[in-house]
């Protein structure tokens, strides 16, 4: 099964935080993606990685966390008891406690939008395409292809220069 999730090309992030505002709008005022600035030089958005071997799913005592058909790690709110275990084991500290309902909240890859065949809101809105929704293998392949293309271009240029006898 091809698993799709959100990847970030942080070389393109301009820290506009459109993803945060979009997520917040789609999820009743809670944003599950956060943008961080590094040393005033670059920024990157961090959201749930929907890990292959997700510690949050494994540790959840009530099985409130599960994987849906697209491979996204989803929280079933009626089962959550707000024990915070998932938040503690997550290496990125992603699941957050919803202070009003006392249950956890996390990125669901916009399940309601995926149902309609749309991309998650943060990806749909990202002005610079820094966020990509896709299959990891495909994204890797595309990046390799792009890199190879560039390498070939450079090689051709070098050839031309050597032909000119420079």
């Amino acid at each position: 099964m091809a698993r799709k999730t959100i990847f970030i090309d942080f070389s393109k992030c301009i820290e506009c935080r459109a993803c945060e505002v979009a997520c917040e709008r789609e999820h009743n005022g809670m944003s599950f993606i956060n943008v961080f600035e590094w040393q005033e030089m670059a920024a990157m958005a961090l959201n749930c990685r929907h890990c292959e071997k997700a510690p949050c799913v494994e540790v959840c005592p009530t099985n409130a966390l599960y994987r849906d058909d697209d491979g996204a790690v989803i929280l079933a709110p009626q089962k959550c008891i707000g024990c915070l275990m998932c938040g503690i084991v997550c290496p990125f500290g992603i699941p957050e406690l919803d202070l009003i309902n006392k249950i956890m909240g996390k990125c669901d890859l916009c399940a309601h939008r995926r149902k309609e065949g749309k991309e998650p809101a943060c990806v749909a809105t990202c002005p610079t395409d820094a966020l990509i929704y896709g299959d990891f293998d495909e994204i890797q392949r595309e990046r390799r292809e792009k890199f190879t293309e560039k390498a070939i271009e450079v090689a051709k240029k070098a050839e031309k220069i050597s032909l000119l006898g420079v």
Binding site: K12, I14, E15, C16, R17, A18, E20, V21, A22, E24, R25, E26, G29, E40, M41, A42, A43, K118, A124, T125, C126, P127, T128, D129
Partner: protein, 710 residues
Amino acid sequence: MAEKLIPVVCPYCGVGCRLYIRAVDGYPVNIEYAEDLEGISNENGKLCPKGNAVLEYILAKDRLKKPLKAKEQGKFVEISWSEAIKEVAERLKAYAKDDPNQLMFFGSARTFNEPNYLIQKLARMLGTNNVDHCARLCHAPTVSGLKQVFGAGAMTNTYKDIEEADVIFIIGHNYAETHPVGFRYVLKAKERGAKVIVADPRFTRTAWFADIFLQHYPGTDIALINGLIHVIIKEKLYDAKFVRERCVGFDEVVKAVEKFTPEYVEKITGVPAELIVEAARTFATAGKGVITWAMGLTQHTHGHDNVRLLGTLSAICGYQGREGCGCAPMRGQNNVQGACDMAALPNVFPGYQAVTDPEKRKFFEEFWGVELSGEVGLTVIEAAHAIDKGKVKAYYVMGENPVISDANANHVIKALQKLEFMVVQDIVPTPTLEFADIVLPAAALLENEGSLTNTERRVQWSFAAVKPPGEARPDWWILSEVGKAVGFDRDGSKGFRYNEAADVLREINACTPQYRGITPERLKANLAGIHWPCPSEDHPGTRVLYKERFLTPDGKAHLAAVDYRGPVELPDEEYPFILTTMRYVGHYHTITMTGRSEALVKRWPEPLAEIHPDDAAKLGIKTGDWIKIETRRGVYAIKARVTRAVKKGVIAVPWHWGANVLTNDALDPVAKIPETKACACRVTKISEKEACEIMKKLPNPIPQIEIVKG
């Protein structure tokens, strides 16, 4: 109870993004990205944070719902629409009878073309050319400067050309932060291999992506651009054929830039000489180049000359009249271009037809059926000074906020207090509204329909998606009612009888050559819009201007030879720092809209003044400390952020929260834009208590007005 998707144009910046509003019976539920629309300016329906939060300000609790009349400053009683219109019309008539030049009208770059057309028509039919809008404070030099060089003041190309360029020179413009969706095209070009050159006094988020970054001191743009031209001419990198065939004045340019050697320019601007040489070579040899700029370049007393020099730089490299080339001034608000086209300006009729030209005036005299004034009117800042002299007595302000947006705001406040009569037509209370005598509640952009012109001359139709609150009415309706009540109630173009916004656009088609073929029917059918000039209904619109000839009388580009002038006010012993202003990606203009959006305020809660670590160490300032900034015009309290983003000796302050109490209102002699971007200041560390004292005396950007009974 069907849910509908209504296509609208984003009410924020000049990119003019399309989006859908999901609404049930006029009540907004959510937004949806316009991913299915081809050829729109925001590819795939992309939106920035402001675009994502558009519904929040519309649903603000303090929206104006009924016409108001002032009892005293800041205290209002509710009145009916008929009373309000009657009073406004009678007062306007009385002033016009006495001397029409006592009146001043403000158009708005935040509303549609139609109301802007109507407000200037009202002003001119009343007998005055005193009509202006906030483009004066952002892109007036672009309009005047480009007009002198190329013959017209608009962007010469489109976003597509930015994407296709091989080199992009961004000067005085934090593109990534002010127009995130537009910046997409820069990154796409860069991915293709284009080089990006950024010139800015601050190391901005745009500069993160620069191949060459030139960090010059605020206000030294002329030296920097002259330096680039010097290298290009000296190394013979210019397009000699283009210069010979399509430009005039090249010899003067050669003479004028002679002394601007990279070493000399380094002394003035602080940019290393070798970087200037590298930037000049990269720019001139790329093959296809775009120059883009915004307020960092224009808001100077030499803004007009800055723009002329950029036009010259572009022309000598042959970067005009081709795809992938051009000059791209980026407009701040979604209808700056449209408001200028509609002539909410004191010197022209719609379509940039000079009021001083007897032939054009005769056309409009026949068209509107009244006698018109041939005298150029007052600009925004001039009007504030004219009040002091008793020349202007009444303001009609539509969707403007001079108390926060004008340079030297303290003076503006004093002036507004002296006014005899002020009408404010707006959607929410603003600090300016506190001085109003009559308040007319307007419908917001998404509650209203009409045409908007984005920064790349693209005219788009936005549909009404949401019901206006209470008795708020569309701007065109209010103005047409006022017009009729003043006495202009004839049919057709000679009066103000309109049934819908489209009627007004048809009248615009008839009198504005550039808009002749841009009919309401075409716009409603084609959501991606049409680029003006579009001279007839079967014309597809124009992507690249000046393919064969420029619009100057002789058809050639008039190159500019300009000598260096710095800012009017330079740092001295008393005021040792240079102050410049900036903006945040999450806020817009005077935060009347973004300040009412929880999602945006949460992320960008307060202004922070940027200061270099060395300066901060000298003054004992750490990030988060309160500081007091003083200039010859005012005092402002703000928290500090110590950062290497600014040069030593420079302080950068976001202006959204009212930092204009500090800035200089010295004017550019041609464009009449105040020098908001550079002035001398002094900085001291203060306590929080002291800061509160200072803030109390400043206008509150989001005021609460009192509505009393009776």
